[in-house]
Symmetry: C2
Subunit: 409 residues, 2 copies
Amino acid sequence: MSVQVIEGGITSPKGFKAAGVKCGIKKDKLDLAVIYTEMPAVAAMAYTQNRARAAPIEVMIRDSPRTLRAFVINSGNANALTGPKGIEDAEAMRTSVALPLGLEPIEVGVASTGVIGRFLPMDKVTSGIAQAVKQLDRGTEADMEAAKAIMTTDTRVKSFACHVTLRDGTVATIAGIAKGSGMISPAMRTMHATTLSFIATDACVQGDVSIQWQRIMDSSFNVINVDGDQSTNDISAFMANSAAGGAPADDDPALWEGVLHIAQSLSKAVVVDGEGATKLIEVVVTGAKDDNEARAAARSVVASNLVKAAVFGADPNFGRILAALGNSGSEFDISKVKLTLKNGRTVVLFEQGSPVIVPGSPDENVARAILREKRIMVLLELGVGNGKGEAWGCDLSYEYVHINASYTT
Amino acid sequence: MSVQVIEGGITSPKGFKAAGVKCGIKKDKLDLAVIYTEMPAVAAMAYTQNRARAAPIEVMIRDSPRTLRAFVINSGNANALTGPKGIEDAEAMRTSVALPLGLEPIEVGVASTGVIGRFLPMDKVTSGIAQAVKQLDRGTEADMEAAKAIMTTDTRVKSFACHVTLRDGTVATIAGIAKGSGMISPAMRTMHATTLSFIATDACVQGDVSIQWQRIMDSSFNVINVDGDQSTNDISAFMANSAAGGAPADDDPALWEGVLHIAQSLSKAVVVDGEGATKLIEVVVTGAKDDNEARAAARSVVASNLVKAAVFGADPNFGRILAALGNSGSEFDISKVKLTLKNGRTVVLFEQGSPVIVPGSPDENVARAILREKRIMVLLELGVGNGKGEAWGCDLSYEYVHINASYTT
């Protein structure tokens, strides 16, 4: 493993600056962030596949920027389902960043997250942007403020950084921030990804890396699930500004290993902080027909309300896991299916077509003890091929219902 | 409307008898039902599309009976994911009914519902069947006991009956019972439908009515959603024993109107009694590309956890309804989309690409008042065609989490 985790944030890669301010969309909380790079960054984007796309997503897809110099992000309001005025507002956000920095609007990415169906208070947003642009800086404070300013119902900052040593010996820095707590079931496509995530690196990237970026998405954000609701606003942006120098690293495995590490760290942080979440559920599927079917099976398990509620209650109701597998559409041979729970200890729940644990048995108590842990691994062998895949989700708690029964109230 | 609703139950159609007994799967509750018809009944079946099918479903699909004389159903144990022993047990249930009644086992339908992944206590089941066969009877008591014996987390009996006057003047009786409260997201296919439902009629049916039955499914059980989890055990059975006499009614619109009425009444009763449900959400989609897309859009809205939680909290967070529409895959023209809430009063929430209500407005208070009602109608016009469709769901409450956090405990 050539990835070296470091303390740091979105401005750890050379050339990147950031700021987070309180512009007044939220009551007395950071709600507007700007990320800036001193030199143009090759960009790769991924957007939600929800057909009711937010205005900033429409603008980004329409303009499809290949390089970026900045990104502006507000929280507290999704600027979604806001019609032509929403589009104008998203464009105005870009312009407000571009003007003082001497950039073209198309060089500025834009993203929003928060309540759907309300117009942005553009006077507040505009003056917030002016303030953020003035505050752009490097270092821990800037890192934290930018990371906090993109949060909605998140309870924790999601920020990770690492070093990788590229083929030519160059040490590149990769860093990422993300937000996301509810309405989390992303299925982002690079060509056309409410989790927001921004990964910055000073590695030298020169060409189109959207294929690599899609691969990263499919093994990170696209395999997480909080509530099965794909957002109108999901976006995941990769920016590489080449400030570390060295040879082009477009196809350098070390770079993508580092990016994958950051993307997976952010993704897991999002589900651990899922609305009302008390536990992380990691489903690892093996023996599927292919990797896609393995991921689909894993996703179906973490997406099941019944599985989520059973895990919340530490109830070893394993039939629900297999019922969710049955709904995934993925092929399996029930006589060869093996279901194991793991957290330090392991316990087999189902094997060779039949249940292994019976009510009241010692193994059932082990299963219950594992389910009481904060991190539960579910291993599912399907017995039909060599496909492997993972998905990560959280449990379904009273708190999820509480948060979402009164979101706008 | 030629459907005349009557007081009655599963034995209201001529020739049908039923019984429900306590066999001991559950603690001191009715848990085994037998339905019997004195003359062979033409059968149409629909089964779950979950690939992890329960043993009784496997047996039914394998034997695909065209006519039935009886049906045996147990609750409290799904006989699902129980391997070869589960298949043997399902077959033994049929045989235990067939022998004392002088039938062939293939003339007996079998269904189970309850906890997944446990073996049936066959000694209790067998003696329960013997008792039920002896008690087979007509009338209110038999109706109620059979309807109760198939319940799991259901809190209410689901039983409806009606009369229809067929083309030749024959008055036929149609009656149905159903159970279902959690793990409800059926997508039943007649050829290969945990809600269980049984519709009996004494109308004269002679041929294969599986096309008609699929159409009934697609406008009733297949458009309801409690929690998005399709069960391993869903089954829906139609039995027509011709005891009312008259000409063949296979293609008599009056018959199918009556069957649809019973199927829709049962379906709505299932969602109203969904686990933890406090409200019925009826989504009516118009202006879709076609009826299938309309139904898909409506299903996506009632399946959304965020919509369900918002309705539970009477929170007019209408963006979630449109986000769910965006995830349905159905085509719409956002500039023509119109979203209305209705319950006596109506209030438009979104129109011509933009939100109509704003925070704190009187209309928002009307929306909130409508959402506090027990029955909320959501009208969605998509603006692209003439497709129409409905779906029915319930809200997501603390009680749903409570029930499912401790199902087997």
